[in-house]
Amino acid sequence: MLVVSNIDLALETPIMKPSAFLESSIKDFTLNINNDYRYLKTGYYVSLHAEVLGNRVIPSTENIVDAYRTPILLLRASKAGITTMPFVVTDSAKQIMSNFDFPTVIFAVNPFSFEGFRIAKNRSSLYKAVKSLSMNYKFAVCAQPLLGEIISFKSIFGRCEVKEQAQKIAEEVYNIFRIPLCKLHVQLAGERAFLSGLQQIRKDELTQLDLQLLRREVSRLLRDGERLVG
């Protein structure tokens, strides 16, 4: 198994830098570790290059594109049995109000804004959020009702340190999309947890504990082989 990483994993096994891998033609099962897999970013291109070489790769470019597009993330997750809230894709605040009561949570579906979500508690904040995240109504947004609170946490190979229900969601999201590192947004309402969104992790958000967990998981995969990653 070939590990390509932009994070210093400090392992004994040689780890390839993304820039070196992109110049190479190595044919091997590829594990792509990156804090940011967004479309058009280096993390995405590493998976793309591996696929064009004919390698099996984690994560796949299809999963990357789908996981970072909130409506597709929710659609595929709910098909696989993960609890999600209903959502609408639109650029109209009026349509959001006709579907859901306040508060609502709004995610961007545009090529430029990647950062998180906005919570709209009333009509005027909804209009502001839609105008901003749709870039003046040029693109769509994805709106979901907010019935509890949203928690955001890091997921490393589906492992995280949060409440049990959210932990289960992190595991299931990893099993579907195989994104080794990401931040998940999960809505907690009563005893239930609902997947809301996914985004990249900034490198400076990774703590020593996160790096230890990452090292442990990568070492386990290197030791136990590809069967563990499917």
Binding site: Y39, T42, H49, R69, I72, L75, K79, D91, P111, F139
Partner: protein, 292 residues
């Protein structure tokens, strides 16, 4: 009888030639006994009521059109353009990586990584391809984000702009021609053939007017598909076979009887009186593909 949703955005109704083509699709579908409804982003909840989805809005993995395509795909509907085609054609790095790997004749290309954007690399590129070279952002469409640069200063200025969104750019040899061939392909068959002429004094089919947001477009000369060179059609089909069996528009340059692929576009433009001028059956063929 099939029920077809045609996903469009408001801008699809600003050019009368495109409006004409959309009306032709609707009339043809209804003439063949199908329903054909325009679906805008406000009505996406209606997608599951349809049997097939035909996307005419601009596609890109980051646009709403991808959400529509993938949703339709997940619902098991027939969809043109399918998500994989959008993913591959929407990223020119992906496209040229495939062409290199599978020996599809294409314009000499190298990729420029953000990490290697320095003086030495730029000189290497100029030495390899001569001056000027063409810089292309991977998300280019409708001739936008493709610029010709002849010196290091302009190379740096353009590359810096394109690097804002993508960590890798495409650099190509400048190969000027009077026109680009456009071969429309559907389900591994040639649908139409055109020549996209380059406006006088320019170097690409669509050029932005200096200081204005509008574009100058070259003429479109349509040919009967049976009259187009066989080698041209073979090259186009070989390039499309790497991507899938949807609807594509392949741009090809001709040099001394040799054909090299410029790019394969999903969601190709179809304007009434242009692409359809010598091949009137393109509407019925696309509708039949969606409903069969």
């Amino acid at each position: 009888m099939g029920n077809i949703a045609c996903f469009v955005e408001r801008y699809n109704f600003t050019d009368p030639r495109e409006v004409g083509a959309l009306q032709n699709f609707k009339l043809t579908a209804e003439g063949m006994g199908h329903r054909f409804n325009f679906v805008f982003r406000e009505n996406l909840a209606e997608l599951p009521k349809h049997d097939a989805v035909f996307i005419r809005a601009t596609t890109d993995p980051l646009y709403t059109a991808y959400v529509v395509s993938k949703t339709a795909w997940e619902l098991g509907l027939k969809v043109v353009d399918d998500p994989k085609s959008i993913q591959v054609c929407g990223n020119k790095v992906h496209l040229y990586e495939l062409f290199k790997r599978h020996d599809v004749p294409h314009i000499p290309t190298i990729f420029l990584n953000k990490d290697e954007f320095h003086h030495k690399k730029i000189l290497e590129i100029f030495n390899a391809f001569g001056r000027p070279v063409v810089l292309k952002a991977p998300y280019t469409s409708f001739s936008r984000y493709v610029e010709k640069v002849a010196c290091e200063t302009s190379f740096r200025e353009v590359a810096k702009r394109f690097f804002r969104r993508s960590d890798i750019l495409v650099v190509q040899k400048f190969m000027p021609t009077a026109f680009d061939w456009r071969v429309g392909v559907l389900n591994n068959e040639v649908l139409y053939v055109c020549k996209y002429m380059v406006p006088k004094g320019r170097w690409k089919h669509g050029v932005k007017r200096r200081g204005k947001p509008t574009f100058v477009w070259g003429r479109t000369v349509s040919l009967k598909r049976e009259n187009a060179p066989e080698k041209l059609k073979e090259t186009a089909l070989k390039a499309c076979a790497l991507i899938g069996n949807g609807l594509y528009g392949v741009d090809i340059k001709e040099f001394d009887g040799n054909f090299v692929v410029v790019e394969v576009n999903d969601n190709p433009s179809i304007y009434a009186g242009y692409e359809d001028l010598r091949n009137k059956d393109i509407y019925s063929k696309i509708i039949a593909y969606l409903t069969n």
